[in-house]
């Protein structure tokens, strides 16, 4: 039971890490590849 909980917990953590990495990667890509100019003069 304890092992199952640990496996479940590690799976949740692993998925969370993967999700955060995917979102961060997407943000990095759009900031790097996109070229919008704002009224402050910086893209985003």
């Amino acid at each position: 039971m304890k092992n199952q909980m640990l496996i479940g917990l590690s799976k949740v953590n692993s998925n969370t890490v993967k999700l955060v990495l995917l979102v961060l990667s997407t943000i990095l890509f759009v900031l790097g590849a996109g070229a919008p100019a704002t009224d402050g003069g910086i893209g985003g």
Binding site: T26, V30, G32, G34, A37
Partner: protein, 193 residues
Amino acid sequence: MILTLAVLAGLFAGLLRAWVYHRPLKIVQLHFTWLLVLAVLVQALFQVPGIGSRIPLDWIPYLQVGSLLGLLIFAGINFRKPGVWALGLGLLLNLSVITLNGGWMPISPQTAESLTHISPAGGWQIGQRFGNSKDLLRESDNTHLSGLSDRFLTPSWFPWHSAFSLGDLFIALGAFLLLYSLGAPGESKPNVG
């Protein structure tokens, strides 16, 4: 900010899609993320206030094109992932117009004026860098592929005012599709026996 909004919208839509259909999240794993980080770090060198002003202007076109080429390789490696076709296409459009215009994204004085409400006579000069951005002031007549430059403006009612390119639109679409795929159905397992 408009591109960051596309990321947030895609994330929200993807999570909502998974929740509505009671699906586990289908998290895409991108390869060669170190290349992505490296390419963006190069750009951060000349876009972050304080650091960017110390980089000679002559270096920036090389850094910019080199960084975009790195991102293009990254998109090529991950081409089969959802939405990456749109990310890659948008990047290719931006890379084309930037490369053909001396390593800078062109923005016309008229667009810059509409964006900042500073008239060219008092503020913007042709050949001037637009803040810390990737943009350089250039007359539309002297711009190669001017249709791909930062020529579109967000509507006046929109809280974040930006000038963006056609390539940026595809990049926004790609970011949305990539994160919307979080709620996509899983791959069906083949029936055995």
